[in-house]
């Protein structure tokens, strides 16, 4: 196992400092100022932000919600405020009245994510109520426009243990304020995912149109009900990292013949205008088939695929057969597809049929019956049920496997992303990881592991000094991250393992993955299928077609 010259092996003594930014100490400041603005001016800015918000609560913040409430009762029955109380639950309303920046509970959150309009109108906040945050968001807008007025764009501010990352996307401004060890690039990736989520429900074009027409439009009107989806997305980063970190989707472990039979079935069952059909369990991919006529040139971007996988996992799709518009931001941020989503046979198996015709619900429903029949005759339902049944968290009903299956004592968890897939399959980046088991069953522990993975990932992919191999002894575990031309691997090992022992475990793991790769990954994604042409009615109306938003 040859390592890059930069292999760092901090002794156990260093491990005491897990909680702070000690980890990259050997290359001090690498995290701090590589591509971004120097940290010093940033420090000043942040303090200004803090002191301003601290000074103002009694004077400025309290009257604001009141005036909102007033306008609620007399005029519009604001759907957002009414939605907030029953739906927000304890999670989002954590600060009681919520989001008062002087509130200790709110301030103590590890990571805040805000979305606001260019005019400074609050749209989304991970914690607290956006109304109470008007002032804070005003400060953010001020920072952005101040730098903008100098013909520049603010990207990030580093202040002690905080990172503030700014992302401007059309008329929307996204801001992350984080105390996690995530790098600015990783935070930016998260903000991009949040933006993609918003675009997927509204399309970029309609967001732009709305703000072009009315600059101070309250976008919450249109996003009402979608906040929970954003909350879930941001939570998943801390609970179950991988998809966003590696830019890959996770597959349901399944015997190759069955997966291929299902793929063939998906290709066979088509409907007019069908673009993509996909089977998933608990946010993990079973298999997918794309139609040649619609998606021939561009394979689906993994980010779009992941978005769909998260989307179909929403509780709204638990009952009935759903028909809803959805936009794939990477494929075409300005147009809608129409999605048929249903759980098959009252099982956790979820079917998604994505088409371009807004009126094709009944065609899709027919297609589903065909698929269901086909799956029954394959005996696939039972096999998929078995795949879904192993899970330490039955509530999620996510198909998974135990790390014990590897048979490498000392190995606690890993993320493995193959890079040696044949070229024409590269558009389906995948990764695999076992279920998070003890000692990572509690929220706090998962967060800690997620932090460690993020740190290792940031070091491996550091733009100035990328590393190939990292052996890191932390306080409660030992980690080994390794990237080669064939794979990218993050392993979490028992803290008592020796360096030689770790290498042994990793060797064993690699051998196991090789043996199981047909089951763990979609090695040979199904080829295209050709659906019957859409009826004349829908080709007459290109504006209805998600792909061609009209002349």
């Amino acid at each position: 196992m040859e390592a890059g010259g930069d292999t760092t092996a901090p002794g156990p003594g260093d491990a005491e400092d897990l909680g702070d930014t000690r980890f990259p100490s050997e290359e001090a400041g690498e995290d701090g100022g590589v591509h971004e603005d120097p940290p010093d001016p940033g420090d000043g800015d942040l303090e200004k932000t803090e002191s301003e918000t601290k000074d103002q609560p009694p004077g400025l913040l309290s009257p604001l919600p009141q005036s909102e409430a007033l306008s609620c009762t007399c005029g519009l029955w604001d759907p957002v405020t009414s939605e907030d109380s029953p739906m927000g639950g304890p999670e989002s309303g954590s600060g009681g009245q919520g989001g008062d920046p002087s509130d200790d509970d709110w301030r103590s959150k590890r990571k805040h994510v805000f979305v606001l309009s260019e005019a400074g109108k609050p749209i989304y906040s991970r914690y607290g109520s956006v109304e109470a945050l008007s002032t804070t968001m005003g400060v953010m807008t001020a920072l952005v426009s101040f730098v903008q007025s100098a013909g520049d764009a603010i990207r990030a501010i580093y202040a002690e243990d905080h990172k503030l990352v700014f992302l401007q996307q059309g008329p929307l401004l996204l801001v992350a304020v984080s105390r996690t060890p995530q790098s600015a690039a990783q935070l930016r990736g998260e903000l991009l995912a949040v933006h993609a989520q918003i675009v997927s429900t509204l399309t970029r074009a309609s967001v732009a149109r709305i703000f072009a027409r009315k600059q101070n439009y309250d976008l919450r009107r249109l996003l009402a009900g979608s906040e929970r989806t954003l909350d879930r997305l941001l939570d998943s980063v801390e609970r179950d990292p991988g998809a966003l970190l590696l830019g890959a989707v996770r597959c349901v472990p399944l015997a190759r013949p069955l997966r291929e039979a299902l793929g063939a079935l998906l290709r066979r069952c088509t409907a007019p205008g069908l673009a993509l059909s996909l089977l998933a369990i608990g946010g993990r991919l079973v298999t997918a088939a794309q139609e040649r006529t619609v998606l021939a040139e561009c394979r689906l971007d993994p980010a779009d695929l992941q978005l769909l996988l998260d989307w179909v996992g929403a509780p709204a799709f638990a009952a009935g057969e759903a028909w809803a518009p959805v936009c794939l931001p990477r494929f075409n941020p300005d147009g809608f597809f129409y999605a048929y989503v249903a759980r098959l046979d009252a099982m956790p198996v979820c079917l998604l049929l994505l088409g371009t015709d807004p009126e094709a619900f009944h065609d899709m429903a027919t297609c589903r019956r065909l698929l269901e029949e086909g799956m029954h005759s394959l005996g696939a339902m039972r096999a998929l049920g078995e795949a879904a049944s192993f899970s330490s968290a039955p509530a999620t009903s996510a198909p998974a496997y135990s790390v014990q299956a590897v048979g490498a004592p000392g190995l606690r968890h890993f993320l493995y992303k193959p890079l040696d897939i044949p070229d024409h399959h590269r558009q389906l980046p995948q990764f695999t990881s076992p279920e998070l088991e003890a000692p990572y069953s509690r929220e706090q522990e998962r967060q800690r592991l997620s932090d460690l993975y993020h740190r290792l990932h940031a070091r491996l992919h550091s733009p100035s000094r990328p590393l190939r191999l990292i052996y890191h002894v932390a306080e409660r575990e030992t980690l080994l991250a390794w990237v080669t031309s064939k794979f990218e691997l993050y392993t979490c090992l028992s803290p008592l393992v020796t360096k030689a022992g770790a290498i042994l475990v990793v060797t064993k793991l690699l051998r196991w993955v090789k043996k199981e790769e047909d089951r763990l990954f979609i090695r040979y994604p199904p080829k295209y299928s050709t659906p019957p042409a859409a009826p004349a009615a829908s080709t007459d109306q290109p504006s209805h077609n998600g792909l061609f938003p009209g002349p």
Partner: protein, 233 residues
């Protein structure tokens, strides 16, 4: 696939309880609130007919799809929250227009959901002010907005008839088509759906006799156009 014989659509502002009403009826339970995405399709066997029910999202985000769900509908259930007068107004402002694509002899039901909350509010105010029962939340707490009265719903029903240029003699009376329900307790939920199913069956038979298919079809596009021109005239 079993082709549905008739279509019923649930419309109304977000958070009035459309999904909860349907789940209460179909699955006999009152689950946690989830925000509907787009629309959800259910099939209900009633006598020898397959009645499809579309549960739509009340969110403004999905507004554009509304008329698609309503196309050729035999009945529309306009739902509001009795505790939120604005949700009744929204029915007229935002949702009535969507029903232009419905069948010309479409039935309309107006449903005030969440009456259990009114009773709770009334009981509370009664405790506080020591007033007698009977004024179904008439006074209410200062915090709770004044609930919607059944007469308000009946007034809306008559407005709809005017809008649709329907003669009061040809359609069921307002008393028959205005309901107050509670998806939480199940109050009036079965009555609502089953009354409507029984009323929809003759519509289905009539449509069958006339021949035009009520599901997605190029032919059905003509129906809404006729309705619209009728309105403007």
């Amino acid at each position: 696939m079993r082709k549905p014989d008739g279509k019923i659509v649930l419309l109304g502002d977000m958070n009035v309880g459309k999904t909860s009403l349907l789940q209460r009826y179909m699955e006999r339970r009152f689950p946690d609130t989830v925000s509907t995405v787009g629309g959800a399709f259910y099939l209900k066997q009633w006598r020898s007919y397959n009645i499809s029910i579309w549960d739509t999202a009340g969110r403004e985000q999905f507004h554009g799809l509304g008329s698609m769900y309503c196309r050729g509908a035999a009945a529309v259930i306009l739902t509001y929250d009795v505790n939120h007068p604005q949700s009744l107004l929204e029915l007229e402002d935002r949702f009535l227009g969507l029903t232009d694509t419905a069948s010309t002899d479409c039935l309309f039901a107006i449903v005030g959901n969440k009456v259990d909350l009114v009773e709770a509010g009334a009981a509370e105010s009664q405790e506080k002010e020591g007033r007698g029962p009977g004024t179904a939340g008439g006074g209410g707490l200062p915090k709770v907005p004044k609930p919607v009265q059944p007469e308000d719903a009946a007034a809306l029903y008559n407005k709809i008839l005017k809008y649709k240029m329907l003669d009061e003699k040809d359609v069921p009376a307002a008393e028959q088509m205005c309901f107050e329900t509670s998806a939480k307790t199940g109050y009036n939920v079965d009555l609502l759906f089953e009354t409507l199913f029984d009323m929809v069956v003759p519509v289905i038979l009539r449509q069958r006799a006339q021949g035009p298919p009520q599901t997605v079809d190029i032919g059905s596009c003509k129906t809404p156009r006729r309705t619209r021109s009728g309105c403007c005239a």
